[in-house]
């Protein structure tokens, strides 16, 4: 008997149909992946399972019986726990309080049974191999632990079904491994796992069956043994994706545009020296916490370096702010588009022209901005209802393209990108790679930081590997493969990649 069954579910938001006639059956004790591009309806399906949305038509069956879940609390009571993509934690409260939030253990007069909850929390955390004190404040914990706290919360309520929505987006490789070991354990213990992700490698590692959604419809459910990742990608996007051939030889003849010498900013990174030629794409691969983001932020003046030199076209360039950097043609596309890049109160037109207007110290708003931004949407094939729409009406992939396009409008000489395809679907990912390549062809020196190894391998002409704030090696794209890069990123003594898992303990 299936543990959970979605039966002919329809769900619309206004005129937009998010799910159309979706039926998925999840067997008891299996790990079932739900894959699809952004906007395919994966999150909507999970929200219905978690009780935060109700279907317009169709039935949700749990243990064979049709149920109507009115709230996440009811879902939890029926043994369904959801690990959210966004961290729904109370950062100011302790690990214990987060695990039991809303369903605290109470005594006869409604008093909190603090020590009972703390003991239970300690058990759960040790079962999940999370070396965190039950009293640790959640804000002091790394993202990976916050996610595991959500798992602990589901276990605290004896959930037999655990649904995870893109759980590894912010995790390092080591943290992902840790999570997967735990999920394997839970599976062995009979827990049904519903796993939503873009990352097919993870899906193929963990799951027994895979359901692909496209445009709100269920394309097919595969058994893992019967398909290859390429088959699944094709089901998700409805087309085949061309693989890229390296044409690096044609490009690396340009003059050096960006040169760093011994750049140091303790404790984030040390002695970083590199140079990037015009038209070259250099990939920096490193796990979260390796100092990559801080390096990029230093280049555009958001942080000060302790020592070392930054030179653009052989002129030293110690920028004091992103504004100064942008005026010199050095731009950073930051990692978190919601927080660091998009203005949800402004329309796309304003979003798109803001950096270039600021960089040329515009006083007046130009009438031409309407045409300019419409041209940008066309040039980069951004799908939007109109240039007067706000960014919240766009899919994640198109939002990400906006955050890149607004900088490309400035024709930068140095393009720095931090995780440029984080959380976007496969189709948008290839188009974003196309944007970066096109800028490189126009002569920009591009530095791409990513923890998505296939992305670095596909995009970069040269790959630098960062670990613990230092550059540990350099590979030419033609010579690099996943194994060589991973070895540089993780090996050689020291606490290694697990160090980020150990921080924040009892903090």
């Amino acid at each position: 008997m299936p543990a959970v069954e979605f039966h002919r579910i329809d769900k619309s938001f206004g005129a937009v149909a998010a799910l159309r006639d979706v039926s998925v059956s999840i067997d008891d004790g299996e790990a079932h992946a739900i894959v699809g591009e952004n906007g395919a309806g994966k999150s909507t399906l999970l929200k219905i399972l978690a009780g935060s949305l109700r279907p317009d038509r169709g039935e949700l069956r749990v243990g064979g019986a049709a149920v109507s879940l009115a709230s996440p609390r009811e879902a939890l009571a029926r043994g369904i726990g959801l690990v959210h993509q966004e961290m729904l934690a109370f950062p100011n409260l302790s690990a214990t309080a987060n695990i039991f939030a809303g369903r605290e253990l109470t005594g006869r007069f409604g008093t909190l049974r603090e020590s009972a909850m703390r003991d239970r929390a300690r058990d759960l955390l040790s079962r999940l191999h999370v070396p965190v004190s039950p009293d640790a404040a959640v804000e002091s914990l790394p993202v990976a632990y916050r996610q595991l706290l959500q798992v602990a919360r589901a276990l605290a309520f004896d959930c037999r079904t655990l649904a995870l929505d893109e759980p590894t987006t912010s995790l390092t490789a080591a943290e992902t491994d840790h999570l997967f070991r735990i999920l394997d354990d839970l599976k062995r213990g009979g827990v049904t796992v519903i796993y939503v992700s873009h990352r097919l490698a993870e899906v193929f590692r963990l799951c027994d069956r895979i359901t692909a959604l496209r445009d709100g419809r269920c394309v097919d459910t595969f058994r893992r043994a019967d398909v290859t990742p390429d088959d699944v990608v094709q089901a998700m996007v409805g087309r085949t994706i061309p693989t890229r051939t390296h044409d690096a030889a044609a490009r690396d003849s340009g003059a050096v545009r960006l040169r760093l010498q011994g750049l140091t900013s303790r404790p984030c990174f040390e002695e970083v020296s590199l140079s990037i030629a015009r038209g070259e794409i250099v990939g920096v691969f490193g796990l979260v916490g390796s100092g990559r983001t801080e390096l990029l932020e230093t280049l555009v003046g958001l942080r000060r370096a302790d020592r070392g030199a930054i030179a653009i076209d052989a002129r030293t360039a110690p920028f004091r702010s992103p504004r100064e950097a942008a005026r010199a043609g050095v731009v950073l596309v930051p990692e978190d588009r919601q927080r660091q890049s998009l203005f949800f109160n402004l329309n796309l037109r304003h979003n798109l022209v803001l950096p270039s207007a600021e960089a040329r110290r515009a006083r007046l708003v130009r009438d031409s901005e309407r045409a300019v931004s419409a041209a940008l949407l066309r040039q980069w094939r951004i799908t939007a209802p109109s240039i007067d729409a706000t960014p919240d009406r766009l899919s994640g992939g198109n939002q990400q393209k906006i955050t890149i396009a607004k900088w490309l409008a400035l024709q930068p000489g140095v393009l720095l990108l931090d995780e440029p395809t984080k959380g976007v679907d496969v189709g948008a990912k290839y188009e974003i790679h196309g944007m970066v390549r096109e800028m490189a062809e126009k002569g920009a020196a591009c530095l791409v930081v990513s923890s998505d190894l296939p992305e670095v391998l596909a995009l970069a002409d040269r790959i630098l590997v960062m670990r613990e704030g230092r550059i540990r090696g350099e590979l030419r794209a033609a010579d690099a493969d996943e194994e060589k890069v991973m070895r540089l990123a993780t090996s050689e003594g020291g606490p290694g990649p697990t160090s980020s898992m150990e921080t924040g303990v009892d903090a």
Binding site: A326, F343, L346, L364, V365, D388, K406
Partner: protein
């Protein structure tokens, strides 16, 4: 700027029109006597009093759009009026130089708020609460409890640029509203204020001078409050330390009723002025309703809540429709 905000201002105009129509109907006199509410003298009176709030509300709206809040305008109004009063009445300075000194008092308050918010990084609520206390305190220290009769020193029938005195502050409000509307919509500075209020981090990453933008709105807001203090002193003829007590809340309410969101990133200076007129009409008409005297603060409070809730319902529906 966008269609949504144009609609938002139109809905504020509609509320104002409904309000005026209501009081016109409710206060309709019996037996052909002149209308106590709908007459030219009363209209001018409403405009004159509303403009004190309205001029300051332009600045308040800009601060709110930038994601901050300013609690000091009431105190700044009093301080600038008192500075003008003591110089003009006691020291016999010319009106222009006394007014200029009043403006400078506003500049000083604005710089203080800006420095506390941008350099010291105090939350705007605390920073401007402090400046409010300091400005009000300074006004009391300067006056030592005295009252400056500015109108007594003005020659009778005095006109500013050929305008009758009563018309000057409404005219000033309209001109300032138009000027700042242009600045907010057609200039990069205004665009940057919306950007900072919508997402401060993204603004920093996008090359906006966040500190400069924030400092500028607090400075502009204080200067506008000082202007309304000068208008109050000249048009109503008095400089007194306990004037404009509690105005800051009415001024913030005007901006909010006019569409400014305290979360930042949304709002309109024209809307703020219209909001000030909505309250001006209420404050003028309610006392004319027999028996309503003791209810007027309560009604004003209810109106703020009803308008803002209606606005949120409309916005939620327009989001749901997407």
């Amino acid at each position: 700027m966008t269609r949504l905000w144009e609609v938002r201002e139109i809905s504020t105009v509609a509320i104002l029109a409904i309000e005026i129509a209501f009081f016109t109907w409710y206060l309709w006199p019996e037996g052909g006597r002149s209308h106590p509410f709908l007459n030219q003298a009363n209209g001018l009176l409403i405009l004159k009093y509303s403009s004190i709030y309205g001029i300051a509300a332009i600045g308040a709206a800009m601060v709110i759009i930038s994601g901050g809040v300013d609690l000091s305008p009431g105190a700044v109004i009093a301080l600038s009026g008192v500075v003008l009063g003591i110089l003009f009445v006691d020291r016999h300075w010319s009106l222009a130089s006394s007014a200029f000194a009043g403006l400078l008092a506003g500049v000083a308050c604005g710089l203080a708020s800006a420095a506390l918010v941008v350099l010291v990084r105090l939350p705007p609520f605390i920073a401007t609460l402090g400046v409010m206390g300091i400005a009000r305190g300074a006004a009391f220290i300067i006056t030592e409890g005295r009252y400056f009769d500015v109108s007594g020193e003005l020659p009778s029938g005095w006109r500013l640029f050929g305008l009758p005195l009563d018309w000057t502050s409404p005219m000033l409000m309209v001109l300032l509203a138009l000027a700042f509307h242009l600045l907010m919509t057609r200039f990069q500075w205004g665009r940057a204020i919306f950007a900072v209020g919508g997402n401060e981090t993204a603004a920093l990453f996008s090359g906006v001078r966040v500190g400069f933008v924030q400092a500028s709105v607090y400075l502009v807001a204080a200067v506008l409050a000082a202007l309304s203090g000068i208008a109050l002193a000249v048009v109503q003829g008095q400089g007194k330390a306990d004037l404009a007590m509690g105005y800051e809340l009415d001024i913030i309410a005007s901006a909010v009723v006019g569409g400014a969101s305290l979360a930042g990133g949304r709002g309109s200076v024209i809307g703020a002025v219209l909001g000030a007129l909505i309250f001006g009409v209420l404050r003028n008409a309610l006392p004319q309703i027999p028996g309503a005297t003791f209810y007027d603060r309560l009604i004003v409070g209810l109106v703020v809540i009803v308008i803002v809730v209606m606005d949120q319902l409309v916005q939620r529906r327009s989001i749901a429709r997407r």
